[in-house]
């Protein structure tokens, strides 16, 4: 299997926010944290207005991973970028580095104390026992371990948001573009996230069997 990717077809997104709601509900994401959101580009420009569902794209060359001072990020063998909340100090560097604004920080208390970073996990949980209460509390549900895709994509009514194996996702999008005579530029964010090549070579796996390899270096 190749690696997991998200693709949002702006030609199809109708800004229904079904993906946002699905994500919120599935992972019981707290108030003030938006793992996924729908943004409008060229708002008000007739004929050019597009809606786009955005979350962590699990980039090939993830900038959050590069700037993290505590090195709490890792990439799984499937290309999903995850982090360990026990190591995160909530500094916010990843927020400034991310081109998609994916990292979120829960705020609480009178002075809006910033908590540990929270972001889309591609419904893959985190570094806790699969399906455990601790995993759900910290990272949300682990659907990938149940053989399911992220709920945002599976719930998408127009199938604008696609998730899964990069080859499958690309094939679906290619077939659509050919049918409607498009140019393929509707997949906004795809080249930003995955444009620098495959991350398969430098999979920074944090698995039970394989020790975590080097963070930097390798083909990006």
């Amino acid at each position: 299997m190749a690696r997991m990717k998200f693709l949002c077809d702006t030609e199809r997104c109708i800004e229904c926010n079904g993906c946002v709601t699905a994500c919120k509900n599935e992972h019981e994401v707290p108030w003030g944290v938006q793992r996924r959101r729908v943004v409008t580009i060229n708002d008000g420009v007739v004929g050019q207005e597009k809606s786009l569902s955005v979350a962590c794209m699990h980039c090939s060359d993830a900038p959050c991973m590069a700037v993290c001072p505590t090195d709490c990020f890792y990439r799984t063998e499937e290309g999903v970028v995850l982090h360990d909340k026990d190591v995160c100090i909530g500094c916010g560097y990843c927020f400034y580095a991310c081109p998609f604004g994916a990292p979120q920080f829960p705020q609480s208390g009178t002075f809006g104390l910033r908590g540990k970073m929270d972001k889309c996990t591609f419904c893959a949980g985190g570094p806790e026992e699969d399906g455990s209460e601790a995993e759900f509390e910290k990272y949300g549900k682990n659907r990938l371990a149940e053989g399911k895709l992220p709920l945002c994509a599976e719930m998408c009514s127009t199938k604008a948001l696609l998730a899964g194996d990069a080859v499958e996702v690309s094939n679906i999008f290619r077939e659509r573009v050919i049918r409607r005579g498009g140019k393929g530029v509707e997949a906004i964010g795809w080249s930003t996230a995955y444009g620098k090549g495959s991350a398969d070579a430098d999979s920074r796996a944090a698995t039970a069997t394989a020790p975590a390899p080097e963070k930097t270096g390798g083909a990006q």
Partner: protein, 76 residues
Amino acid sequence: MKNPRHAALLAASLSLVLLAGCKESPQVLDKKAGEYQGKVDTRPWEGPAYKGDKATWESDLRARSGNQNELRRVPD
């Protein structure tokens, strides 16, 4: 304190209590720059649902990915 033995005992125990805070334990984690510092994670197919059966997990996910294509699900 009238009994000098008690005074000496008290002084000795006080000094022990005071010295107890003097041990310098390392305050910094053994951090190696550029390496993941968190806990190890298991692979998705190693959970209770698939019990290490990677091939089945992959085929299940591929099938689900394919199901997102309504052009293939609905015949022409």
